[in-house]
């Protein structure tokens, strides 16, 4: 067996190579897949988790206005802390597969409208109560309530009823066929709480591997290992976890470097090369689903003209954006919001190139004259002002005059985004393609920030949602992707990587394309080397 393969399996353990990449490269070395997978598991065994110690993370994205009520979570700090003390019915693996968590089995009726969740038995909440179907029903009810202000309300609107059919069995009926439902219930807002959190939404009581002991919003959040946790082999290795909110980038790096924290999130692309050179620090990056965009309203002049939209799309130099704005820590986009990190990604959609001739051609055909106003702001995404200026320059080469207007960060999300016809913005990913499209691309979506309103698209989305045959479904997603790419108002130059850094003490990092900090599992899955 080659040394290269050993090296590769080490890389998987260190999280530098995804499992799929490993299998691909192993195949290239001439090793059959069953052998390759068993090598992988033995390497994983060699680096088995060590219990104990105190794991500290320094994170950006916490405010003193944060709450422990899962319904109100919006930031990555709440996401990461929440995943440590709470658990949802399901999880999604880095490969995009459904993984059971509090539900041990999920199956659907043939029409994909009735979903039965069999719950695990003998699971305890931190307050000693045993979790049963009542708690699950109550949780889902609470988040369905229009007054709850829950971040999961959009998901819950598709649910018609939630019924208890046994002490450990819950049936969820959707308003229309939805093959993604179990994925949607992995949403981090939907942490199962005793009686659904109806009595005390902010109590911070869940079933997770850690028990909240200190919650000072915007300052620190601390939790200790829950003694009666049901799955200690997989989760909850450190005795104690703590998140320090360090919003200043320089301070966050200094804290990591001086050993006051073991993990930091949001390493900025502009400094990542220098961080990588530090002796005691590892940079962890994963290409995820988040993307930086410029959005045009398809129903507002002059953007109601598809030729103008295409002209702008062809005038975008994507490679240059990835190199300059993301310093290479990202991948180019193709003007539809899905990439290979999603299950059922349509692989054969051709990449849109930077093509000045075509841009000029479509611009002439659009008959548009005069400057096109593009609004941007520092808060739209890191580097958004620079990106707008780069876009301005590349468009000028095709004879398109973009006027960049810099807006104040305060009020950008209420006054500019989703209000003005052309502006910079960002999206983080969603668990499934359907969820991404339903959030922002179907006609009546709350956040249809491109005003993309097409009946045939909506219908296709509905059909795909109910389609249990994966090949047919993938085909539908291909058609939807093409529609958005060729006729939508989305210019998607780049998918940005999540870049984090860990100290030498930390082990067990596995990249997860779903979100920051191993999609929130970092604190409960990492361990400290002895």
């Amino acid at each position: 067996m080659s040394r290269e393969l050993n090296f590769l399996s080490q890389q998987v353990i260190l999280g530098r190579l995804s499992r799929r990449d490993f299998l691909g490269r192993a195949a290239a070395l001439g090793i059959s897949i069953p052998v390759a997978t068993s090598m992988l598991s033995s390497a994983a065994l060699a680096a088995s988790p060590v219990k104990g110690g105190s794991l500290r993370a320094g994170m950006q994205g916490g405010e003193s206005t944060d709450s422990l009520d899962p319904a109100l979570w919006t930031s990555q700090v709440q996401h990461s802390f929440g995943q440590s003390w709470g658990e949802a019915l399901t999880n999604v693996s880095p490969e995009g597969d459904l993984v059971p968590r509090l539900a041990e089995e999920v199956h659907s009726s043939d029409d994909a409208r009735e979903w039965t969740f069999k719950l695990r038995r003998g699971i305890q909440f931190h307050n000693g109560k045993e979790m049963d179907a009542d708690d699950v029903v109550a949780t889902l009810e609470r988040h369905s309530d229009e007054d709850s202000q829950s971040g999961a309300l959009g998901i819950m609107r598709g649910i018609e009823s939630v019924r208890k059919t046994g002490n450990y069995e819950v049936v969820v009926t959707t308003t229309e066929a939805n093959a993604d439902l179990p994925f949607l219930l992995s949403d981090y807002h939907l942490m199962i709480q005793p009686n659904g959190g109806k009595d005390a939404p902010e109590a911070g009581i869940g079933t997770g591997p850690y028990r909240v002991v200190e919650f000072e919003p915007g300052v620190r959040q601390r939790a200790v290992r829950f003694e009666n946790y049901w799955n200690p082999d997989e989760f909850g290795h450190a005795d104690e976890i703590e998140i320090l909110i360090i919003n200043d980038t320089t301070s966050r790096m200094a804290a990591l470097q001086s050993g006051q924290v073991d993990v930091v999130n949001r390493v900025e692309p502009s400094i990542v090369d220098r961080v990588a050179n530090l002796s005691n620090v590892q940079v962890q990056s994963v290409s995820g689903r988040a993307h930086y965009v410029f959005v045009m309203h398809c129903d507002t002049a002059p953007f109601d003209n598809n030729d103008l939209r295409l002209a702008l799309k062809y005038a975008m130099d994507r490679e240059d954006m990835v190199n300059r704005i993301l310093r290479g820590y990202g991948t180019i986009g193709n003007d539809f919001p899905i990439n290979a990190a999603y299950p059922l990604f349509p692989e054969d959609i051709p990449q849109r190139e930077f093509d000045l001739d075509r841009a000029a051609y479509h611009y002439r055909r659009s008959g548009h004259d005069g400057p096109v106003v593009l609004r941007t702001s520092e808060v739209a995404f890191p580097g958004a002002v620079d990106a707008a200026q780069l876009f301005q320059q590349s468009a000028a080469q095709a004879g398109i005059d973009i006027e960049v207007r810099r807006e104040p960060g305060d009020g950008y999300w209420s006054e500019v985004w989703n209000a003005q016809p052309f502006c910079a913005s960002y999206w983080s990913g969603r668990p499934t393609q359907d969820q991404m499209y339903s959030t922002a691309y179907i006609s009546n979506a709350d956040w249809n920030d491109t005003r993309f309103k097409r009946d045939d698209f909506d219908q296709l989305a509905r059909q795909a949602r109910g389609e249990l045959d994966e090949a047919r479904r993938q085909e539908m997603y291909r058609d939807m992707g093409l529609m958005v790419r060729d006729e939508g108002g989305l210019i998607l130059p780049m998918f940005n990587d999540y870049i984090e850094a860990t100290s030498d003490r930390v082990q067990g990092w596995t990249p997860h394309p779903m979100g920051e900090m191993m999609s929130g599992y970092a604190l409960s899955r990492l361990w400290l080397s002895a």
Binding site: S64, T65, S67, D147, E202, V219, I246, S251, A255, Q260
Partner: protein, 319 residues
Amino acid sequence: MNSLIARLIAQRLALGISLLFAVSMLIFAGTQILPGDVAQSILGQGATPEALANIRRELGLDQPAWQRYLSWLGGILQGDLGTALSNNRDIAESLGRRVNNTLFLAFWTAVVAVPLAILLGLVAVRYQNRWPDRLISGSTLTAISLPEFFIGYLLIYFFAVQLNWFPSVASVHDRMNLGERLHAIALPAATLTLVILAHMMRMTRAAILNVMQSAYIETAELKGLRSLLIIWRHAFPNAVSPVVNVVMINLAFLVVGVVVVEVIFVYPGMGQYLIDHVSKRDIPVVQAVCLIFAAVYIGLNMIADLVSILSNPRLRHPK
């Protein structure tokens, strides 16, 4: 004499309190003028007219402004600052913790900075225009010229990252004892000291030099007293009044103006708390914090006034 002082203090206190009332009215009026009402900012984009009406009724926003002002004021007088709109936490409780932290940092910075500034001022006068004076003036002026975040980063780089003497994260918490707390705040306190030192030192130096021209100082010199003694016993008491004013302004700065240092050192003080809530339009919190800031300013200036008056017989017995 004692009754005179008591009357003076009572007078100033009454003045301060009425000023605070006026400020509370200004704060309340100011937050009313802000664009968008509270109900709108709570509900955000998803606001429906009936939900807006519900929340307005719940918060009493349908009542006239003067009525709301009176009930707000009434609550404050009973120590009830209300609850934060953004996360439903009791303001008095979460703010109290922050106020304590801010005062803790301000207090220990002052304990170091004020005596140090005055001492350096005295030394600068003693060696006026010679190398100690030049060194002191030069270095303190350099420190005040650098932006405070830069001083902070420099200290972090040398003392936290390179030497590992002090933590770069000054996040204090309940489980720390006094020694640990002091160790944690060493770097932010040092940064703030460097920021405020020059101002107080220069004022001490200037005020004393002013007095040093007087005839009675010359007499003291002719008596053969040692120069530091002259400065300390004879010149300084007459220079107290301007120095105290500058000291108080700097102390007020330590309480209300240290957001940047709080952010760099991750110190859980009031500044960051205020900013987070301003961006969420969390008006009750903003009002409460502003009121505390106003009270600090008024209180410290009142103390400065009292000290100036007591230290100066001419002001003590106005004609």
